[in-house]
Symmetry: C2
Subunit: 291 residues, 2 copies
C-alpha cells in the first residue's frame, strides 16, 4: 500500500473532467504523455481500473466515478484556498495588448477569453505600435511581426488579409469616397495605404481605426479593414479584391519569464484558440461576397 501522491489525484480529476489526456494536459500545463503515465501509475497503485481508454478519450469506470465524486471535495478545498490566497494579496491581472481589431474580436468573444470565475482580471489595452512586452508593460501581446527579442516567446497564429469594405448594397456614388485615419495616427501599413494609394479620394478622416468600421457601416464610404472584421460584419461587403501587399503574419507574444504563470498561460492559450478558430476569416478566405 504505497502512499498516493496528491498530484496523482489532481491529475486524475483533470482527466475525468476533460474526458481525455489531451484536454487534461493542456489544463494542467504538462504533456499528454505525462498525464497518461500518471493516470497509469494511479491505477496501478490503487489496484483498480479508473478509466476506459479509447482512441477518442478516457471515460470513467464505476470505480473511477466513485473516486471522482470523492475528490470533488478535495478540489473544493483547493478552490477555497486559492480564493484565500487571492484575497490575501490581490488577484492577478493579465494585461493583454493588441491592435484595434484583435481587441475588437476579443471583446466580441470575451466569453471565450475570460469568465467571472477565472480568478484573474483582464486589462486590455490597444496599441497600434508593436506591443512593448519587453518592458513588461503587458503580459500577452499580439504582434504583426515576429519578435526578435530573445526574452519573448512567440507563437504564430496565422495570416492577416486586408480588403476595402463598404456598406452592403451601397449606391455606386460612394465608390470614390475613402475613409482613413489621420496621417499622424496611421502607423500600420493598412492605415497608410489610403494615404499612399488613394490620397486624393479620402473623404473622411478620423483619429481611431475603430471609427472606420462605424463609418463604413453607416455608408460614409469605403475603408481598408482586416478581412476578419469586414467579412464578419453583415452590414459590409468587399469593395474590391484582397489587398495582397498588406497581408502579414500574426504572433502571440509573451514574456519568457512570465509565460508559465497560470493565468497568462490560460489567456494566451484561449486567445490562440480564438484566433485559430477564425483563421480562415483572418486569411480572407471567407469573403462575404464573391467577385
Amino acid at each position: 500500500m504505497k502512499d498516493i501522491s496528491w498530484d496523482a489525484y489532481q491529475t486524475f480529476l483533470a482527466v475525468a473532467r476533460h474526458g481525455g489526456l489531451t484536454g487534461a494536459a493542456q489544463a494542467s500545463g504538462v504533456s499528454p504523455a505525462t498525464v497518461g503515465r500518471r493516470v497509469l501509475d494511479l491505477e496501478q497503485t490503487i489496484g483498480r481500473q479508473l478509466f476506459l481508454r479509447s482512441q477518442t478519450g478516457y471515460r470513467l469506470t464505476a470505480d473511477g466515478q466513485a473516486l471522482f465524486e470523492q475528490l470533488q471535495a478535495m478540489d473544493a478545498v483547493v478552490r477555497r484556498v486559492e480564493n484565500w490566497r487571492q484575497e490575501a494579496h490581490g488577484s492577478a491581472v493579465v494585461r493583454l495588448m493588441a491592435g484595434t481589431w484583435v481587441t475588437w474580436l476579443v471583446c466580441e468573444n470575451i466569453q471565450a477569453i475570460w469568465s467571472e470565475r477565472d480568478g484573474f482580471r483582464l486589462d486590455m489595452s490597444v496599441s497600434e505600435r508593436r506591443a512593448t512586452l519587453a518592458h513588461r508593460e503587458s503580459d500577452v501581446g499580439v504582434r504583426a511581426v515576429m519578435p526578435e527579442e530573445p526574452s519573448l516567446t512567440s507563437r504564430h497564429i496565422g495570416e492577416v488579409a486586408y480588403a476595402a469594405y463598404r456598406q452592403r448594397n451601397a449606391p455606386d456614388g460612394l465608390a470614390a469616397a475613402w475613409l482613413a485615419v489621420s496621417e499622424d495616427d496611421a502607423i500600420s501599413p493598412y492605415l497608410r495605404w489610403p494615404h499612399e494609394q488613394v490620397a486624393a479620394s479620402i473623404a473622411v478622416i478620423v483619429s481611431r481605426p475603430r471609427s472606420l468600421l462605424d463609418l463604413a457601416r453607416a455608408g460614409a464610404g469605403q475603408a481598408v479593414l482586416p478581412c476578419f472584421v469586414g467579412d464578419l460584419d453583415p452590414g459590409l461587403e468587399r469593395a474590391g479584391e484582397e489587398l495582397k501587399q498588406l497581408r502579414h503574419g500574426q504572433w502571440i507574444v509573451t514574456n519568457s519569464e512570465d509565460r508559465h504563470r497560470r493565468e497568462i498561460r490560460t489567456v494566451s492559450e484561449r486567445l490562440y484558440r480564438l484566433v485559430k478558430s477564425h483563421a480562415d476569416l483572418f486569411a480572407g478566405k471567407r469573403p462575404s461576397r464573391s467577385f
Copy 2:
C-alpha cells in the same frame, strides 16, 4: 499566479504536523532537503511566509495556521479515499518476522507498533532461522546477521547481549540446573550454548525458547536469555556475567522493492524506534542485579 501542485499542500501539511523538516521528511519518505525546497517553493508561489524557521524546527505563522486549518479538510478527503481504497480490495497486511524474543517485545509493546486506526493488519510470525524475506514471505524482518542479498535493505539496530537468568532469590540448590531447548530446535548460538558448555547440567528441555522464560521464572533452573528479556522481568535475576561470546548485532530488514509501501515503512520505523528505545537493555547495560 502559478498553479500550486497538490503535492506542495501535502508537504506543507506534513511539515506543519511534525513541526520540522526532519519529521515531515520521514513521514513522507523523502529527504529533508526536498521537503525544505518544496516548502520554500510553496511560500514563494503563495507569496506569504508560512513558517518561522529556526534551528530547532518550523513553526507556523498566522498565514500558515490559516492555510493549515483549511487543508485539514483536504487531508480528511484523502483519508476517506484511502479507506475506500482499502475496503475495495481488502486492507493491507504487514508480515513481521522476528525471533522469539523480539516478537515477545513487540507483543508487550504492541501499541507502539500498531493501533486500531492504522489501516493495515499485522501478521507476526516467529522464526528462529533467518527470516526469509528474499522469497517475500514477510515484509519486515529482524535478523542477527547483516543480510547480503542486494534485494534487501537493512538497518542496524544495535547489539544484543545474553546472560543466564534464574528466579530472583532462588535457593542455591538450583545453581546446577540448566534449562534448554531440544538440540534439534537449537539453531541460534544462545540456544546451542547450554548444549555446548553445560550439557551435563541440563535439567529440563523444551521445544520452544519462549518456555525457557516461563520455566526460569517458575524456579525450574537457569536459562540463557537475551538480556533485554531477563533484565526486564522483575521475577528474574542474572545468574552470572554477560556471555560475551554470544553477543551479536541486530538488523531490521525489508525488501528493497516493498520498503516504500507506506505501511511497511510505518511498521519498520516504529519497530526501529521501539528497539532503539530499549538499546541499553538489548546491550545488557541495565542488569537487574549487579555483580
